[in-house]
Symmetry: C2
Subunit: 395 residues, 2 copies
């Protein structure tokens, strides 16, 4: 049989979509490191350091903190299938694509799911969570911190308070938030949290950092039946990465190198500067987009810094627009998901990718392409507005 | 909090354990390639080529053939949880550690499990499978092609015939066999098969190639309930990597680069030469080990070429021996699992790692360490025996 196997030849891209984001150059270099065995003392030592850096990133003392050998979706599934047993109740807050995914996975775990829905692009209202919690005890309340489908940042503190008052555990999706905005696992009393390597940590996709509170660990310990997934069974993985080093699977060594390097880079920058940088580049992008006469879809008070939903002007075909961005400029942005299909561009400014040159490049390219498509754009206004944000900033 | 984040600094290793094996240098280089988005046409094109190369590797025309975003264990779980529904019956052949793992995962899928057991180190006898099949219809018969825990290669043709005669589907674990010995999925009528990237394909751990026959696809299509794992739901992943390109998860781009390069290298060598090379290096290692007065644990007629179980001499502590191999020579080999704990060294000669210099290096180092421990070893006999095998070979 004839097999097409040309040389690997990847076109250069500027990754400004919802993820993967561009790797930090130091992360890229770390991938070119020869393998260690997964039970080699040198690898176990490295994993300890990864765990410690993840505790720093999650701002937690949680012992059970490590990267799972899968993508963010594996992290979501791991949290749900370890915390839930068939017939148990979960309250899921849904204001975007990933809230819906939590519902799907929880149902596959055999849980009884109740939803709190909110219009896509708006944050979940704590009042509606309080109302829903009155319908009886839930084992878990699940919510997305940073909805990658809508660009909404969800405030968590009040909902955390309500959740714990009701006796439930709080499960948080921090796939897009970790490394970009603060994720204060201990301060906000989050019981289980998952993220991904390929967003604001600027590592390649393939690992899902997770962290579990003592209450969550105790819940898992008291399960009546085995977790339905062997691959994602936290107790077994804890033994593998913990003191007994019992074989469970073969850790993706190269991915661990990359995650380690991504975490080191983040740690060197520090939480405050990193958050300030993401905020500033977001503000510059938003100012530029608005100066062009376009809008951001998400409500202003809850906008994510790392994922911007830019509304596509009336009469412009979003697929065609994204195709031109990719082909003419090598820029990848995302399209709308679910309810927002065709209506928005999803523009990521994540981790290493959140920088001034990407903001200016995107605005310039978008301006050029919209002008070509007959949109009346005040040429140069976007760049001027973005630059103005940088000039007036003290960061 | 103080976080230990020294520079990534990996000691050089010769990986002769049960996996991961050493990456081919071209694979290592491929990892240092910038990312593409997972929905980029260039990535989708690459994935098509990976699928085609995997069909070549599995010797199959199966449309549903792709790498899963997890390790070999995820591949095992994916096959079981897609093929089985709660209450359905599976017959599992167990003659090593990974057979036991299939039992565990099948039980977590809610299946009713019946076992055919055989002593570790021996192949499963088709007669005992025929006996077990008489106890009524099974949905699936599962068997390990290359038991990494014992070094046994399992003949599959007769068992495949019996399985299909009974109306069941045949599920095969090819984690350690793919890329080292022929895995003839179509010729042997295998319905579902999974492997790993980090063994004889010489790529890093993190991907699990799978392939499903049309009968298996039809079985999945006729499921009464959703697959319990969203992450491993074949139908969704098929849509993601297939024609609709519907978002499911974010493919581990760098791992796909590496798997592609590993497959290209294998394809350039070709099935026959690759198998002959694995066989020759195994024979040389076996001759050397026997010349040293040691034995291989697995029965001679069913020995794996890529994983050799070398019995540890009486009075020698295997942990201490492996520690010296690692510390003094940088050589990693595996210890025994389960019933073979403390009794054998598991010496892998996989993919790129199956070469003359590794055979001679391992034999020399083992000879030196055993001599130091007071074993009476005929110095130089191992190297001479191994060299003799190479000299008399026409490969």
């Amino acid at each position: 049989m004839s097999v097409p196997c040309d040389e690997l030849n990847v076109p250069p891209r500027v990754l400004l979509g919802p993820g993967p984001s561009e790797m930090h150059p130091r992360v890229l270099r770390s991938l070119a490191t020869p393998l260690l065995g997964h039970l080699d003392p040198a690898f176990l030592d490295l994993m300890e350091r990864v765990k410690e850096l993840l505790r720093w990133a999650f701002q937690t003392q949680n012992r059970l903190t490590f990267p799972l050998s899968g993508t963010g979706t594996a992290g979501m599934e791991a949290c749900l299938c370890n915390l839930l047993e068939p017939g148990e109740r979960i309250l899921v807050c849904v204001n975007g694509y990933f809230g819906n995914r939590i519902v799907d996975i929880a149902e596959r775990c055999g849980a009884e799911v109740m939803r709190v829905d909110r219009e896509w692009g708006k944050a979940i209202d704590p009042g509606s969570v309080a109302e829903a919690l009155k319908t009886g005890p839930f084992k878990v309340v699940a919510i997305v911190h940073a909805e990658t489908s809508t660009g909404v940042l969800q405030p968590l503190e009040e909902i955390s308070h309500l959740t714990h008052e009701s006796g439930a555990l709080l499960l948080v999706d921090a796939v897009t938030s970790l490394g970009g905005v603060p994720v204060k696992v201990d301060e906000w009393s989050i019981d289980a949290v998952y993220s991904g390597s390929q967003k604001c940590l600027s590592a390649p996709p393939g690992m899902a950092p997770v962290s579990f509170s003592e209450a969550a660990v105790e819940t898992i310990r008291q399960r009546k039946r085995k977790v339905q997934s062997f691959y994602l069974d936290m107790t077994l993985i804890d033994q593998y990465y913990g003191t007994t080093r019992a074989y469970h699977h073969t850790a993706p060594i190269s991915m661990v190198y990359a995650l380690y390097e991504g975490l080191r880079v983040a740690h060197e920058e520090g939480h405050d500067l990193r958050a300030a940088r993401h905020r500033l580049n977001h503000l510059a992008l938003a100012a530029g987009v608005e100066a062009m006469g376009l809008a951001l879809h998400s409500e202003k008070e809850h906008r994510l810094w790392m994922l911007n939903t830019v509304t596509v002007p009336e009469g412009v075909d979003d697929v065609d627009l994204r195709k031109s961005l990719l082909q003419d400029y090598g820029i990848e942005v995302g399209g709308g998901l679910g309810d927002l299909k065709g209506k928005v561009l999803r523009v990521g400014l994540m981790g290493y990718g959140s920088n001034r040159r990407n903001v200016l490049l995107f605005l310039s390219a978008l301006e050029a392409l919209l002008s070509q498509r007959g949109c009346k754009i005040n040429r140069g206004a976007a760049a001027a507005a973005a630059t103005g944000v940088y000039t007036s900033s003290s960061v």
